[in-house]
């Protein structure tokens, strides 16, 4: 009798509940164990880089919103910083503070989504996800006050921000800052010591610091592997050099560490926002620029610490109103490099959780 023990290849995605969009993996299983993974991407490719070559510099801001659509503020920030470096533009203080406040709020919102979907992949039926979304909703409300939009914000402009925060914004922000620490503590209490979460995530898919650096993996994943590298500290942009915060690192590099780093980073973001609110002073929010931004020929690449890792726009200008080349370095895209190493050898359930712990966004992977 011959038993057919061939490994089975399964297409996970592009339509699958836990691939966070249209992401596809060709996974080969030996029973429940994963023996091979091949990520297949491009289902959401919209050609942002090509589109950017045909638009003027201000119009491209709306394109950046659609990259990592759960963290639009930081996308805006990375883009305008590169543009400002191209011409050496100085941004007024109030504009920079508003940018940092918005970016840190966006970081909290993005990490909430990351944690919520991580738990969803673990099989917690919606409860942590809905809790995370409840808090994120408040942040989106704040964005709505800032710029009228919730997801595709287009709040930042070259030389500052689109408009000053309305008067109502500050009390609303204060109320939010009063509530959110208890929300984060609640998440912490619900999840961090749950026996099933610990049993499922501790020691699963560990990445060492060297592996991460070699594979250009940045952001919370790198810090969860024990490397103290945060562009807000090592290459401060905007006003990050005027606020005090800690770079959270954990030594383990496993799925649990990636979750725990995100949770701790949310608290640090709140610290940054508090200091910014204390330091911000009245003044202009935007430097005066020409209506058509026309930088001199040259190039600029200013990476920032987006919620998911290093995000940067490599802009080559030829002196016209639209960039000659606009290459986007999306952290989600590069963080997928080690997907195979992370998933092979583990079971299907753990592979899905490892994918969730990367907290990638397909809009940014495919661009």
């Amino acid at each position: 009798m011959s038993l057919n023990m061939q490994p089975v290849t399964v297409n996970i995605g592009p339509h699958h509940p836990s691939t966070h969009g249209v992401f596809r993996m060709k996974v080969t299983f030996d029973g429940e164990n994963i023996v091979d993974v091949e990520p297949v991407i491009g289902y959401l490719h919209r050609g942002t880089e090509k589109l950017a070559e045909e638009r003027n510099y201000t119009q491209i801001i709306t394109l950046t919103d659609r990259l990592d659509y759960v963290a639009s503020m930081t996308n805006n920030q990375a883009y305008v910083l590169s543009c400002e470096k191209l011409v050496g533009l100085d941004v007024p203080d109030r504009g920079m503070y508003l940018r940092v406040i918005a970016a840190e709020l966006q970081r909290v919102a993005s990490h909430l989504i990351g944690i919520g979907f991580f738990l969803q992949d673990l099989g917690a039926f919606g409860t942590p996800l809905m809790y995370c979304f409840r808090e994120r909703e408040r942040i989106l409300d704040l964005f709505e006050m800032l710029c009228g939009a919730r997801i595709t914000v287009s709040y930042m402009r070259i030389g500052g921000v689109f408009q000053d925060a309305p008067v109502d914004f500050w009390p609303a922000l204060r109320r939010f800052m009063g509530d959110i620490p208890s929300y984060i503590d609640e998440l912490d209490a619900l999840i961090s010591t749950n026996e099933i979460v610990l049993a499922r995530t501790k020691g699963v898919s560990p990445l060492t610091g060297e592996q991460c650096i070699n594979a250009s993996i940045t952001g919370p994943i790198l810090r969860a592997s024990g490397v103290e590298w945060d562009l807000r500290k090592s290459a401060p942009y905007d006003v990050y050099d005027r606020v005090a915060f800690d770079v959270v690192t954990l030594p383990d590099g496993d799925n649990y560490a990636r979750y725990a780093v995100r949770l701790a980073e949310m608290r640090q973001s709140l610290r940054i926002i508090e200091q910014c609110v204390a330091q911000i002073e009245p003044g202009p929010v935007r430097a005066t620029t020409n209506m058509l931004f026309r930088p001199p020929a040259g190039e600029a690449y200013v990476p920032i610490e987006a919620p998911k890792g290093e995000l940067g726009f490599y802009i080559v200008s030829d002196g016209t109103v639209s960039p000659f080349r606009c290459k986007i370095r999306g952290p989600s895209f590069v963080n997928l490099t080690l997907l195979k190493e992370m998933m092979v050898g583990y079971k299907l359930a753990d592979g899905i959780v490892s994918l969730g712990s990367l907290d990638f966004n397909v809009g940014e992977v495919d661009r």
Partner: protein
Amino acid sequence: MGDVLAENRIFSTVYTLVNDLVPDGWSWVAYLAAGMSIIMFVVNSLMIMATFYTWVERRLLGRFQSRLGPNRAGPFGLLQPIADLLKLISKEDILPRSADRIIFNVAPVLMLAATLIVLAVVPFGRGSYIADLNIGILFVVAISGIGTFSIFMAGWASANKYAMFGSMRAIAALVSYEVPMVMSILSVVVLTGSMSMVDIAEGQALPFILVLPMAFMIFMVSISAELNRAPFDIVEAESELISGYNTEYSGMKFGTFFAAEFANGLVASAVIAVLFLQGWRWAVLPSHLWFLLKVGALAFVFIWIRATLPRLRIDQILGFAWKFLLPLSLINLVVAAVEVLSWPEQTALQQFYMALINWPVAIVSIVVFSKVVSKRQPVQPVVRATVAQEVV
């Protein structure tokens, strides 16, 4: 004729009514009509309750998740299940091209049938049951196993890899959890000295949840695993397997699975209520209502657990059954047997003494086992040198 059902009021009413109408020698018609009326009554009440249960579950999950849940169709969204049902009925019924036609169609029916047959031996109230089989609980265990077969049939016949994964997981979970479940039922049987569901309910001077706490816990866990309820819902783990064994099902076939699943939850709650909560006894309300309240409370616990806990991995689930639940259920059985030898009369006082012994035993053994036996194992990636191999 009709010995088993002679005490049943619905049966006797319908039987007398029809028997007066038909000529002599045609009393089998009356018997058939009476039997059918009981079946119709019981099956329809269960299906209506299961439909209502879907609404309850979705509303409660909404509350747990700080959102509203279905609230548009009818008052409080009460008509939502009916709307869902209408949608499912009117949907196209898709049969995958490479599916095994017969098995694919039979599987949902079989699953629902297995759920409904279990109801035959469940006493709903004082003197209200379809059949008081002397092997009642054995019957329950035997028939509920068929449900897992139908899951396997569905997964196999779908010719879908996700469905296959789901059904294989179902078989693994069934084989593992049947053992501790039956062991914990045995301790109940030892105490009451009977397998009849009615006798078990009558034999509980105190509710067995107090007398046999460990058996109750083991049974709750095992039945959750058997029914694929969280945190053991690996069979239809939506983040891994999309929907598991019913991935390829659509329309009313899926609806049948869906209804069977919810009916299963209710039937399991009813069985637990009989085994551990004295069934209909100690009623301060009419006994049927009292029983329903107990079933509802247990169903609520299932929903509560589902909203709270993440899912376990398959090896953890199987390891939990064999390394943790099986030894505990053996301890539980031995202790119960020794106690029955010491106090053969089952009065409330004697069951109280048993509870006094059983609670410390339960706490100590669970703590010791969780500390000693099931230490968290470090996860090791399984790396195989050769991927493809042929076993001859």
